[in-house]
Each structure stands twice: as structure tokens, then as C-alpha cells.
């Protein structure tokens, strides 16, 4: 008898038999664990790869920590800046904006940066072919940043015609498509980025001298205050040389601009993945309790033949470990490539590279740990409890309830309800018969339903947030000219364009909000709509919006408050605008979601004009159309561009509303899809939970079904009995889920807002989640109860009564 059996002890043979003997149950448990493990694995693989590779990719180019724009200076001035305390390296750049015709009738602004020598670049190094330094540029050649390919397909050797500020055209030869990880991608800015040498810059109307300083700090690279303080010293040095400083740009120094966003998204999805694991655990506990209920006689036998409680606990713990390991074997191989693919997609979105496919050990160990230990930990008490049954109880098969059936509150209520048929009454009573299991089933389903609905509600929250954000740019088209023009001069031109119903001239100027020490400052962007503007609808959280008579009134936002939390209504702010200090009184606080390079504050245009000595002269015009669709927007953009060109007015940028919000919509869509994926996984666990519970309920009642049929109940009556029970449980879970969805939605909206868009968001509720979850739960309840009931009804009465 030399078989393998002699190598596997009978108790482990029992574990294998239990696994293989009831394949449906095993599959159900394994899939439910696998869904949770997959969710966590997928999220962890994606974000481990993203965060690791993003940082590695970013740091590999020696990124700038600050950029200072000023009047031009020569190369000889750079060493003196490098001597400023705290400065690591400095590099000069010269830049110019041109416009590129990317499609018939569509022009896009291209920011061109001149680089003295590619091979000697110290800061924000360009790369091509996955990491190599590109060759030196020849005259009239250009490197195109790869994210600009979204605007137009370009390749090495192509001739790109660009329109200079004065309207002249220049042809540039595309030398290479390069990658600049520090450049804001086209998708978010609607600006293409490109690079030329100093000769070409001069040929394009720019200067051989520099107008930007890129600097790194020698230490504390991620400390924004430190970077600002060092930048301030450098800016002061520039000022002392008699040059004007236009602005200092410090945004998330030492980190990729998307790192906070990606970290927050990862945490959010991890939270939902954790909830999926929790649901899986509920489901496993449920199944294990049902399994132990079925195994009571077997536990009794094992005890009868000398098995101790601890040995029997071991058997069931190993069984659960096997479920978990099988789930790991399913989930890990799927989550690894999918997680990597998701990381690839997201990195493409934010324009950084992830390395080649690899298996993050942390993610694998995390999955293995969750797959093995969460089911064991959560099921340990039920296992211990179930295996503590005495032999007499087990062999006589009285089960955990000891056969005592009490009349509970539900029975008393049901007995007093009139007009319910007897079979319906039986169904309702059955639904509440096994209260322990009912509580677990309801907990699983309620949690699943609540989270599912809350995720759909979060979708509404995001939509509402988008609607509110649109309120800050109601204009259908925004035109930015190269210079400020008198509003009276430009308005008639704009109003002559078909579909234009309104034009507003808006000003804007970068400025520094001085801190209490008056030495350091926070970079801000002052935006000035005309008094009583119709093209902005801000969300005011405190104080008020600007009024026509306001002079030095200023409305600050949540982004500024994040940096300067001490600010409040009534405060007087000292702001350095073009090297002149001005005082402004805070009259209101607005709220806007999203990322901002520099916090935006709003003031009245007339007053700002007087401060800047440019009364009634602005460079930005916001245009309202009578029809708000893409086609009309495009037509207006084309016509405006043509007219301005004809009039010799140089344009910096013309952008439609849909282009303006394109990047934000795309990133929000990506978040919504990720959330929906999580919602689907949670719904899957919940569905499996209901299906498993209903199946077990019906299977346990096979004998009862036989009795019912033996006393004359038809198949239909039996089916109705079981389905009504399923529907009662499903509906109850849904109702509880609806209630639970409220706090979940509030929590998710708050966490999402604070973590991802710098603004705690108010909850919003969508009917979709409620209806989809209701339909789903009813369908699953019917299927999960009807299928086993149908199988049971196929058995003969004799078979059913002999059923164990």
C-alpha cells in the first residue's frame, strides 16, 4: 500500500478533502479573499512603482527647487548668485513664447527655453531615448518636450513653423523629441515646451542673456520655507544689481509636482482596498461559521477518537490558510502586471518614466500577509468557539444553538401582522432564524452597499466640485495678448465676432505677500476681474466677494490659507507688486479645488490698474458666447485668432473653456475610474457574500424543503419561500447600506477634498449608486437563493430526507 497517503497525515488529508470536496464553497471563499487581496495588491503595486520611480526619475535630472524671473542678466552674474548662502547650483535660462499652428485653425502657445550647452546642463537635465543626454543643438534646431506630442504629432526631422510675438514666422527643424520631467505637461497647461540654443533664441526674437535663474539649494531640498528664504536672498541679489525681479516660483520643492496628488490618490485607493479586505474577511468568517456548523459531527468524531481542541483548531486554521494561499495564487499574478500597467498609464499622464516591469517584494509580501493572516485572524474566534463543542453536543448534532429555539421579538411582531400568507410568514421568520449569521451577512452586505453608494456619491461630489471650479472661469474663450491693451480698443473687435455676447478685460500680476518678518514672502498671483464681473462665480466660504466700489479689497483662497493659515477676514496684507509695497484688506475667502502653482488672490481690476499705472489696460480678455459648445468655442477661437492677426495684435494664448479644463477633467476622470474599479471590487465581494450566504441557508434547509414537499408544497411554493427570504435579507441590507452611505460619503468627500484637491469637499448624493446597488442586491438575492432551491426541488423527497 505504497500510496501518497502515507506521506500526508489524515488530518491534512481531511483539509485537502474539505477543499476539494466542496468546490463551490472553496471557490466562493477563495474568490472573496482574492478580490480583497487583488484590490490591495493592485493599489500597492501601482503606487509603490509610481512613487519609487517618480522620485528616482525626478531626482535623476537634478531638478530645480526654485525659478526666479527677472530682467536679463549675463552669464557672468551667475557665480555671484551661486555664492549666496544655501544655494547649491544656479543656471541661467532665456525663454520666449511663440505660437504653433498644431491643426488647421488651431494655434497653441509654445514656451521655448534656450540652453547654452546641453552636455553641460546641471539643472533640469533633458533626456531622450530613456535616459541619455541628447546631442548638442545646431542653429535653427529645436527639441520638443514629449508631452507636446498630444498637441500635434511630431518626429525628428520635421519642420515646425512658429509664429513670433511680432507675427513673423520662423521654421525650426525638430532635432529630437526629448523628456523634461520638470516641465508641466501639455495636457494640464495647454502649452508646448521646447528647447533651442542661444543663437536660435536670438533668431526667434529672444535674448542671448538670461531672464530666468534656475536654482537648487544645498540642503533641506523639500523644505519650502527654506527654499523660499534662499530664493529670496538670490532675488535680493538680483535687485541689488539694479534689475527688476518679476517673480519667484517655488512649488513642492524637491518633489515631483504630482507627488502629493499621487500619494493622496494611493492612500485613498488603499483605504478602499482595505475596506474590500475587511469585506472579504466578513465573508470568510461567515463561510467558516457555516462550514463549522456543517462539520459539527466531524468535530465530534475527531474528539471522540482522541483529537484535542487545539489539534482540531489546527485543522481548520490550516484549511483557512489554504483558502488564503489559493486566493494569493490567483490575486498576486493578476495584480502585479495590472498594477504595473496602471502605473505606466498614470506615469504617462504626469509625464514621468517608470522602470521596467518588476515585482515589488513589499507588495507581494503585503498580499501574502493579507491573504494568509486576515482570514485566520478574523475567523480564529469562530473556529475556537466551534471546535470547543462537547462530544455529546456534537454527536447528537444539536449544534451551537443547543437546539433551543426561543420566540424572539421578530416572531412576536410577525405573529401580530395580519394579511400575510402563511408561506410568506415562514419566509420572513426564516430570514431572522439564524440571527448570528444574519448579523454577519447583513454586516457584510451593509458595508458593501454603503461603500458602493458612497463611492458613487463621491463621483457626484467630484462633479459638483468641477461645476464649482468652472465658476472661476465661466468665459467660453480666454485670450491672452503679449502686451496690455486699452479695453476700449479691444472690446469692439471682440464684440464683432459672431456668437460673442460679452467681453471682460482681466488683469493679472505675480506678486509677493510679505511675511511678518518682511524679509520673506509667499509668491501669489493677483487676478483682477472687472467690478461686478459676470464671468466668475466664486464659492465664498467667509466674508464677501468683491464689490464695484472696493479699492484695496482682496479676496484670498484656500490655497493661500494652506500656506498662511494665520490670515483672516479684516487682515491688512502687505504685498510687493513690481517692487512696490501695497496694502490690501482681506474682505473674503473663496474656495477652489485643484493644484495651483502659486495661490491666486482676487482684487478689483480698476484699483489694480491704478496701482500698476495701467488703468483700463489689460492683456487678458475673457469672452462669453451665446452658445456653450465645443464647435462654437472652436469657431470663436479661430475667428478671434484671425482678426487679431489681421490687426497685428500679437497673441500669447487663445484657449477655449474645454481646453482650459481639459487637464483637470482628464485627471478627475482617472480618479473616478479608479474609484469605480474599487466600487466594482467591493460590489463583487458583497455579491459573493450574499450569494454564499443564501446558498448555504438554502442548502442547510434541504431537509426542510423535503418535509415541505412531502406535505404538499409545490416547487413554486418552495421557490417563493426561499426567494422571499433572500429578498428580505437583501432589502434590509440595502436599507442599512443607504443609512451607512451618509457618514461614508461625508468621510470620503472630506478625505478626498483635503488630500487631493486642497479643499474639504461638501458631500453630494447621486441616485445612481442607490439604484444600481438596489438592483444588484435584488438580482443577486434572487439568483443566490433560487439556484440552490431549484437544485433542492429536483431531488426526490426520499433523497432530500436522507440528505446530510
Amino acid at each position: 500500500m505504497k500510496t501518497r497517503k502515507q506521506w500526508i497525515k489524515p488530518r491534512w488529508q481531511k483539509v485537502l478533502s474539505d477543499l476539494w470536496g466542496n468546490k463551490v464553497r472553496t471557490l466562493l471563499v477563495v474568490i472573496s479573499i482574492a478580490v480583497g487581496v487583488f484590490a490591495v495588491g493592485f493599489v500597492s503595486v501601482t503606487f509603490i512603482i509610481l512613487l519609487t520611480d517618480m522620485d528616482a526619475d525626478y531626482q535623476s535630472v537634478n531638478p530645480h527647487e526654485a525659478i526666479i524671473t527677472s530682467q536679463t542678466f549675463s552669464e557672468e552674474f551667475l557665480p555671484s548668485m551661486e555664492k549666496v548662502d544655501g544655494v547649491g547650483q544656479v543656471e541661467g535660462r532665456s525663454s520666449v513664447n511663440v505660437r504653433v499652428k498644431v491643426a488647421p485653425g488651431k494655434k497653441v502657445t509654445m514656451g521655448i527655453v534656450a540652453i547654452q550647452k546641453i552636455s553641460e546642463m546641471k539643472i533640469d537635465r533633458l533626456r531622450f531615448n530613456d535616459g541619455e543626454t541628447p546631442p548638442e543643438l545646431s542653429d535653427h534646431e529645436v527639441y520638443i518636450e514629449r508631452s507636446a506630442l498630444r498637441a500635434m504629432p511630431l518626429k525628428s526631422g520635421d519642420i515646425l513653423s512658429v509664429e513670433l510675438a511680432d507675427g513673423r514666422l520662423r521654421d525650426l527643424k525638430v532635432a529630437e523629441i526629448v523628456h523634461d520631467i520638470t516641465a508641466a505637461p501639455y495636457m494640464f497647461t495647454n502649452r508646448m515646451s521646447a528647447y533651442v540654443n542661444l543663437n536660435t533664441m536670438e533668431w526667434l526674437g529672444g535674448s542671448r542673456d538670461f531672464n530666468q535663474v534656475y536654482l537648487t539649494v544645498s540642503k533641506n531640498k523639500t523644505d519650502k520655507s527654506h527654499v523660499e528664504a534662499v530664493s529670496h536672498q538670490v532675488a535680493e541679489k538680483i535687485k541689488k544689481s539694479g534689475r527688476e525681479v518679476f517673480g519667484t516660483y517655488v512649488f513642492q520643492p524637491g518633489r515631483h509636482y504630482a507627488s502629493d496628488f499621487i500619494t493622496a490618490l494611493g492612500m485613498m485607493l488603499s483605504f478602499l482596498g482595505g475596506l474590500a479586505v475587511l469585506l472579504s474577511a466578513f465573508l470568510v468568517v461567515n463561510t467558516i461559521i457555516a462550514l463549522l456548523g456543517q462539520h459539527i459531527p466531524q468535530i465530534g468524531i475527531m474528539k471522540l477518537v482522541g483529537g484535542s481542541t487545539s489539534q482540531i483548531v489546527e485543522v481548520y486554521v490550516v484549511l483557512i490558510l489554504c483558502f488564503g494561499f489559493l486566493a494569493f495564487l490567483i490575486a498576486a499574478p493578476v495584480s502585479l502586471p495590472l498594477g504595473y500597467s496602471a502605473a505606466k498609464v498614470i506615469s504617462g499622464f504626469f509625464n514621468f518614466n517608470v522602470g521596467p516591469f518588476r515585482i515589488p517584494l513589499t507588495a507581494v509580501l503585503l498580499q501574502l500577509g493579507i491573504a494568509l493572516f486576515i482570514p485566520v485572524l478574523t475567523s480564529f474566534y469562530p473556529v475556537l468557539n466551534g471546535t470547543r463543542i462537547t462530544i455529546t453536543e456534537a454527536i447528537s448534532n444539536l449544534g451551537i444553538s443547543k437546539g433551543i429555539v426561543k420566540r424572539g421579538l421578530v416572531d412576536i411582531i410577525l405573529e401580530n401582522i395580519r394579511g400575510i400568507s402563511r408561506p410568506m410568514l415562514v419566509s420572513l421568520r426564516n430570514a431572522f432564524r439564524r440571527k448570528g449569521r444574519l448579523v454577519l451577512t447583513l454586516s457584510t452586505l451593509t458595508l458593501a452597499c454603503g461603500i458602493f453608494i458612497a463611492v458613487f456619491n463621491l463621483w457626484s461630489v467630484i462633479n459638483l466640485m468641477m461645476q464649482r471650479t468652472y465658476g472661476y472661469n465661466i468665459a467660453d474663450v480666454t485670450v491672452t495678448l503679449n502686451h496690455a491693451y486699452r479695453i476700449e480698443q479691444i472690446n469692439p473687435l471682440f464684440k464683432s465676432i459672431p456668437h460673442v455676447v460679452g467681453v471682460e478685460g482681466w488683469g493679472s500680476v505675480p506678486a509677493q505677500l510679505l511675511k511678518a518678518d518682511r524679509q520673506t514672502a509667499t509668491e501669489i498671483l493677483i487676478v483682477s476681474p472687472p467690478a461686478a464681473s459676470k464671468l466668475i462665480k466664486p464659492v465664498i466660504t467667509a466674508g464677501r466677494w468683491l464689490e464695484p466700489g472696493d479699492e484695496n479689497a482682496i479676496v484670498i483662497g484656500n490655497h493661500l490659507l494652506k500656506e498662511r493659515p494665520e490670515l483672516n477676514i479684516g487682515d491688512i496684507l502687505e504685498i510687493d507688486i513690481n517692487n512696490n509695497d501695497n496694502y490690501w484688506k482681506v474682505v473674503g475667502i473663496y474656495e477652489i479645488a485643484g493644484m495651483m502653482a502659486a495661490p491666486v488672490v482676487y482684487v478689483n481690476n480698476n484699483y489694480l490698474g491704478s496701482v500698476l499705472n495701467e488703468t483700463d489696460r489689460v492683456a487678458t480678455y475673457r469672452v462669453a458666447l451665446d452658445i456653450h459648445d465645443g464647435a462654437t468655442e472652436k469657431m470663436a477661437v479661430d475667428t478671434l485668432d484671425r482678426r487679431l492677426d489681421q490687426m497685428g495684435i500679437p497673441v500669447n494664448q487663445i484657449i477655449s473653456r474645454s481646453q482650459f479644463f481639459g487637464g483637470m477633467i482628464a485627471s478627475m476622470d482617472a480618479i473616478v475610474y479608479a474609484l469605480l474599479l474599487m466600487a466594482m471590487l467591493i460590489a463583487m465581494v458583497g455579491g459573493l457574500g450574499l450569494m454564499g450566504m443564501m446558498s448555504m441557508n438554502v442548502m442547510e434547509r434541504t431537509r426542510e424543503i423535503g418535509v415541505l414537499r412531502s406535505i404538499g408544497a409545490s416547487d413554486g411554493a418552495v421557490l417563493q419561500l426561499v426567494i422571499v427570504e433572500g429578498l428580505v435579507i437583501g432589502l434590509l441590507a440595502w436599507l442599512l447600506g443607504v443609512i451607512l452611505a451618509f457618514p461614508f460619503t461625508i468621510l470620503l468627500a472630506y478625505v478626498f477634498g483635503v488630500a487631493m484637491v486642497n479643499s474639504p469637499l461638501a458631500p453630494a448624493f447621486s441616485a445612481n449608486g442607490y439604484f444600481i446597488s438596489l438592483a444588484g442586491i435584488l438580482i443577486i438575492a434572487i439568483l443566490a437563493s433560487a439556484l440552490p432551491a431549484k437544485n433542492a426541488s429536483r431531488l426526490t423527497i426520499r433523497e432530500i430526507l436522507a440528505y446530510e
Binding site: V305, G306, G307, S308
Partner: protein, 242 residues
């Protein structure tokens, strides 16, 4: 033939104080408490059983036979009195120690066979060996096959319990009870659900085991089996009546 790791302990159990009986029950009482009130199933039973006896516990349904066996095996708690088997006072042991002791020293056979449905017959017999740790794991298949041979059902070794007849299942249950070579076998209505011919076969198996030195205590309501026993004890209403 098979070296038992606990041979020394078992021998001690057999030879324990020759002057005293192998099994000693002193004023054993058992009262069940339920919502309907207290029910006394055993009323102060005192009894001595010697090693090598084949005892028949006879009585009608509800007389207290199963309760009596449960007190002996320690699967249920006594309300009063003492039960000694060899030098062990059964009810003073912890549940864990009692389970281990039971696995090494007792073979229990019950009416409904109670084989694990998911295991082969061979594995069902190996299970007490595995749990009790009495034999080396490598030896246990050999021992299980040997027991199946003794019960004349070795051909069915790899079958599941659902694939053999009731009589065959009961023989497997006996083989399982003998797996750890216990000195004492307790059988509760082992022939209760068998036809008379099969019951005869089972009784002959028991007879052979007694001849090999085993002590068997068997509860039955079938007074016609009395001829097989070396001594019969009749129980009625929780008391010994003969």
C-alpha cells in the same frame, strides 16, 4: 507486530494494582438540567469491571446506557461520584488531557458509525493514530491496513464510507477504535442499525477481541445478545437492576 510508543504506559494500565478492578465506578450520578426541570439519568452507580471482561450493559431506550458509557469515556461530565480507569480518575483530568488519554487508551464505537465522510476508510483508521501520536507516521498506513485485514475489508481501503454497506462501516468503526491498540473498548449500540446476520458478525469480532485481552463494554437494548457477554449489567431508570 507494531511497536507502540506508549507500550509502557498501556502495560502499566493493564497491570495496575492487581488487587483493584481495572474500572471502578463509585456512586456515579448524572443529572441533566433543562428548561423542563432536572432529569437524573444515572443514580449513584457503583461498579467494578476487571480487565478482559466483555460487559453487556442492557436496558431499554432511555434507561441510561449511553449516559453510563459517556461517564466512562469522559465525553460527558458526572454530577457526583468518581470514575477510575486504571490509575486515572477520569473526571479530574482537564479536557485536553482527557482527550489525549481517550485517544491512547479508549476505543469508542457508536451506533451511527460516524466515519468522516470526506476521508477514505484507510484515512479514517489512521486519524486516531495521527491525533494520538501513538505510532510513527510511517507505520500508521501499515497498521491501518492490518486492522482492515483483521476486519476483512482491506479491499475497500481507498473507498469513502458512503461507498460501503452499514455492516462494513461498523467494521471500519471497530478497526478505528482499535487503531491505537487501546486496552478498553466502549461500544454504544454497535449493532443497533444492522441486520441480524451482520450483527452476529460484529459480535464475533468483539468476541475475538476479548479473547485477545481487550476489555469491552457494550451497551445494547437487544437482550438476545446477552449470550456473548461474560457479564451483563441491566440498567433501568438510571440504576443497576440486576
Amino acid at each position: 507486530m507494531f511497536e507502540n510508543k506508549k507500550n509502557v504506559a498501556v502495560t502499566e494500565l493493564h497491570e495496575n494494582k492487581q488487587s483493584e478492578a481495572f474500572i471502578r465506578l463509585r456512586n456515579v450520578g448524572k443529572t441533566y438540567t433543562s428548561g423542563a426541570g432536572d432529569f437524573t439519568a444515572l443514580k449513584g452507580i457503583s461498579l467494578d469491571i476487571n480487565s478482559g471482561e466483555f460487559i453487556g450493559i442492557l436496558g431499554k431506550s432511555g434507561a441510561g446506557k449511553t449516559t453510563f458509557l459517556n461517564m466512562l469515556s469522559g465525553v460527558d461530565h458526572i454530577t457526583s461520584g468518581e470514575v477510575w480507569i486504571g490509575d486515572k480518575c477520569i473526571h479530574r483530568m482537564s479536557e485536553t488531557r482527557r482527550a489525549k488519554w481517550r485517544g491512547q487508551n479508549l476505543g469508542i464505537i457508536i451506533q451511527s458509525f460516524q466515519l468522516l465522510p470526506s476521508l477514505s476508510l484507510l484515512n479514517n483508521i489512521m486519524l486516531p493514530i495521527d491525533l494520538g501520536g501513538m505510532y510513527h507516521a510511517r507505520k500508521s498506513p501499515e497498521r491501518a491496513i492490518d486492522l482492515l485485514c483483521q476486519m476483512d475489508i482491506e479491499a475497500h481501503a481507498d473507498k469513502l464510507s458512503s461507498q460501503i454497506s452499514g455492516g462494513q462501516q461498523q467494521r471500519v468503526a471497530i478497526a478505528r477504535a482499535l487503531a491505537n491498540d487501546p486496552p478498553l473498548i466502549l461500544a454504544d449500540e454497535p449493532t443497533g442499525s444492522l441486520d441480524s446476520a451482520t450483527a452476529e458478525t460484529i459480535m464475533r469480532v468483539f468476541d475475538a477481541l476479548v479473547k485477545r485481552g481487550k476489555t469491552i463494554i457494550m451497551a445494547t437494548h437487544d437482550f438476545s445478545l446477552a449470550r456473548y457477554f461474560t457479564r451483563t449489567i441491566e440498567i433501568a431508570d438510571g440504576e443497576i437492576v440486576n
